[in-house]
Symmetry: C2
Subunit: 581 residues, 2 copies
């Protein structure tokens, strides 16, 4: 195609709204434009890249016994009520009331829809296993959309769903998808790591996350140096902590109430009492989807891990509102403490690290008061009918797993696979008759890839100071022919010839035929990140030469003009080699 006929609005300036390189470059290279917060229009170049990514995904899914279908974006809320996930998603789900007063969700995912399809269309073990997928738009009403398409309100997802007769078959489907994902990310030229993952709102028994390591990623992966353990932060398990020495808390005398007026944060309490966050016990109160009140105890320097909590509870849970907290603690928010709360709450969960504390400072369940010398197991229970010790916090630097030090790395989640078991099929009646004629719920797996995130993370990890550096497989074009002197007949003729011959050979070629200064053309070529370029100019052509340069080469090479096509195709083959499973 010809540059002059395409809408490629490149920009010199770094857009103020864009915080990270991939977001900046997708705007600067004219791949997309923002319509509103978290909503982007893909322009011709960005859309070409996305379509190439979708084609790669489609071909690997088709090769892995998955069948493409297309489910509606509008989903009746009743389906979500049957699985209870309307509450789990809460305000993250976009919903609207139609003219007949029915409430509808805009697909954040499609387990409910596909399972209800399976319920009506699958009846016999002979139809299993089956794997149905779609590539379709999904929606999340993000509180704070950011990082361009990495956290947007509307995005393209490939979502696949397998239905299986038994665990062995589910393992096989899961493995097929896992392997397909490895091939997809390799073909897209993405570095990735696979880690164990928490299943979160999806539910189910096992999950792996495919993550592209990069400093600006919102996800954190946790691993042991020997590589034997790797998980995302939501999943990463930690060894129980060793007991530490007391310092500033005082001896473990009786609990002692202290006046702590006007202190809003852990740090302020520490300042007032001369102690450290690690000596504090945070008391967090949750309300579950079923309406239960759950008290969670976390060390002051730790963070509660909502996925671990949800997984432990087996249901969704959100921080309780002010009135629930005040009713439970008889105090203002900020002064909750564990003493006496286990009897009032439905459950109390004590994080391992809290249980390991010799003593701590807690809220007093009285406004403007804290209590010192609170000893776990003495002043509040750490076991009992409704009390348990569990791992409900995020791993931190210094933690170990099976005795090995945990390391941390940031990344972008680009895909995740889940073994869902019967969570959805039981609730939605997706059963089948087995060989003996008895009815069983299907086992289920689900497998997602963020299409837009593949492009954004490729740019995030592969850019340089001049722009995108895209893999040949997902660049908007494979080769650019850059015509330096549009008023020279010889130059135009040679460039046109090279352009035509490359196209005939099946290459995806962009011809920069604009009447623009060479500097502008070079800068745009670098910015867009096309992997290979051929420059046809009058000076070189006088000697029968053109320049050829990979996007990653520091300098161009001179080559006989008549050999340019052969050479370019050879280099293109080389560029595809690491992208070929």
């Amino acid at each position: 195609m010809r540059y002059s006929q395409l809408l490629i609005p490149t920009m010199k300036e770094v857009p103020a709204e864009a915080e990270i390189p991939s977001h900046q470059l997708m705007l600067r290279a004219g791949f997309m434009r923002k319509l509103a917060s978290g909503l982007y229009t893909y322009l011709p170049l960005g859309w070409r890249s996305l379509r190439k990514i979708m084609d790669i995904i489609r071909s690997e899914m088709d090769a892995s016994n998955a069948q493409e279908i297309s489910m509606p974006i509008i989903q009746p809320i009743e389906l979500w009520q049957k699985t209870g996930r309307d509450a789990d998603y809460g305000s993250t789900m976009c919903t609207f009331e139609d003219r007949h007063g029915r409430v509808n969700a805009l697909a954040p995912t499609a387990e409910e829809v596909v399972t209800s399809l399976a319920a009506s269309e699958i009846s016999s073990y002979k139809q299993l296993p089956i794997n149905l997928y779609q590539i379709n738009t999904k929606f999340r009403d993000e509180f704070r959309p950011r990082f361009g398409v990495l956290r947007s309100r509307e995005f393209i997802m490939k979502d696949a769903y397998s239905f299986n007769a038994d665990a062995e078959s589910l393992d096989k489907s899961y493995r097929e998808m896992y392997d397909a994902y490895c091939r997809i990310f390799q073909r897209c030229g993405l570095e990735y790591v696979v880690v164990e993952a928490e299943t979160g709102e999806m539910g189910g028994s096992g999950s792996h996350q495919f993550t592209t390591p990069c400093d600006n990623g919102e996800d954190v992966i946790v691993f042991t140096e020997d590589g034997e353990y790797a998980a995302n932060l939501e999943k990463a398990a930690v060894d129980p902590m060793e007991k530490f020495q007391l310092d500033g808390v005082g001896g473990i005398g009786d609990p002692e109430q202290v006046h702590t007026p006007d202190v809003g944060t852990i740090e302020a309490v520490c300042g007032l009492l001369g102690t450290q966050p690690a000596m504090m016990i945070k008391t967090l109160i949750f309300t579950t989807a079923n309406g239960e009140t759950v008290v969670c105890l976390i060390r002051g320097d730790h963070e509660l891990n909502p996925e671990k909590l949800v997984s432990l509870l087996g249901q969704g849970a959100a921080l309780s509102g002010e009135s629930v907290i005040q009713n439970l603690t008889s105090a203002a928010v900020g002064f909750a403490g564990p003493m006496g709360l286990a009897e009032k709450a439905d459950q109390m969960i004590v994080d391992h690290a809290v249980a390991a504390m010799p003593a701590g400072v807690t809220g007093a369940n009285e406004t403007d008061y804290h209590i010192k010398n609170v000893v776990p197991g003495r002043d509040f229970p750490i076991d009992g009918e409704n009390v348990q010790v569990a791992d409900i916090r995020n791993a931190v630097l210094g933690d170990t797993y099976e005795g090995k030090k945990l390391l941390f790395k940031r990344g972008i989640e680009v895909g995740q696979v889940f073994k869902l078991g019967t969570k959805y099929t039981e609730k939605l009646g997706a059963t089948f008759l087995d060989e003996n004629g008895s009815s069983k719920p299907c086992l289920m797996g689900c497998y997602g890839i963020g299409v837009n995130r593949i492009l954004a993370s490729a740019i995030e990890i592969l850019h340089d100071e001049n722009g995108c550096v895209l893999p040949a497989s997902i660049a908007p074009f494979e080769i650019e022919v850059l015509l330096l002197n549009s008023d020279s007949e010889a130059v135009v003729a040679k460039a046109e010839q090279i352009y035509s011959e490359l196209k005939e050979a099946g290459a995806d070629v962009l011809m920069d035929d604009r009447k623009a200064r060479p500097g502008v053309k070079f800068k745009d070529a670098d910015l867009i990140g096309i992997p290979l370029r051929i420059v046809v100019g009058d000076r070189g052509l006088a000697d029968g030469n053109v320049e050829i340069k990979r996007r990653t080469d520091a300098k161009p090479a001179l080559i006989e003009a008549d050999k340019a096509v052969t050479e370019a195709l050879k280099i293109l083959d080389e560029l595809y080699q690491p992208l070929t499973p």
Copy 2:
């Protein structure tokens, strides 16, 4: 692909909910399943057909200087408020409030979004003309979804938008799209007619509609027998009526008020007074988007044409609510009449046919009363500052246009092209600097195709009593190899060989490898409508033969098994000939 590995849930029974053949067959052939009213999941076969249709559209758009982009489904309502079309669409538009309280529309179309893109990215005549298109999901909150995907709440539309510097350029873009549409529908194997169309909510100066003639279509096209005039019902102009003889209305004496209690309909009034609907004058009261009150007079046996009215008013309009009518007429709904109303309303529009009436019966603007002997031009004005005579009704049998009798045909609208002029670009600031440096609004065209409707109307017009009869270009598969005896090694081997060879030759082949009775396989093959099938069975193969049959052939032909592939490819070529522009 193999039938045994695909989800193809064919049904013998005609689903009760499906009123027309295309809807029945898309369900029966396992092309789709209903999720909820007006929402369908496409299963593998239906989705394959839709993808083929999208590929055809894409290739013709790309060949016509259009560039593919992708715009968000979620659109800020503010954009719609700028053009005033939020009011025009009203409750047909799906809207939702997000977590920050902002109102968003689900794209019913994308003029506003693409024009705001043009406003920010186009600045110079050098960037024009430009034609941007997408293939994306659109939404309408239909009051009564029906006929399967023909009137659904969610559908796939190809929408293209050209921006042009002058009328000549717009004409050229419009013509390019018009021609591309002709090629697209031909390649899809669709019979179609092109008619002049009203621009309706889109606005603009000119439009053509591409319609597939069929008895179950919701659209009506109107044409003269000589083919010189063709338009859709919304657009079709009519000659003014000739005056007719009075009968039962009485002489044209003075207006005479008559007591007509408890009559709710035109027919009831006629019954009471012994007159005919054609002698009645209906008084319809509209409120426009700008809040004006417009009185419309229509003959009792005619129907008001909302598109003609909106086009005449230059703004949206809807029937007024009860309170507006009661205020204006001082009477209950059902008793409005033209006498004295022109002074009270902002506008009065008298349909041509009413102006041609010698006299008529009207409401009395008094509850339970009508008036006889009402003479247009005598008892109410037919011209004046706020009164005009115009064509605001639907054509009916008996009407003429330019003296020629109008004929009527039903059809399915599959595409429409519009010259929009500057309606959107002025309101949204999409201007450019021309050669002389002066700023002008872009001219604009928009061009839509209903992707799902192409499939549905192909089935609607091409089915027979056994099922779908699909053109080779859009059938889920081009050829089916039907394996009759799955326990015969020779049959399986020959079928596999034919299947492989056809695939290698590039044909899109389905192999019915199921262990099912021949009758079931034959019935399913017919139902799905694959254009060509090869049957491999033990009886034929004993003589070295297989059967080959077009879906439209009454009987199969015997052919040497070794020549089956060559023959099938030859027939396939023939099937594609009428589909090739």
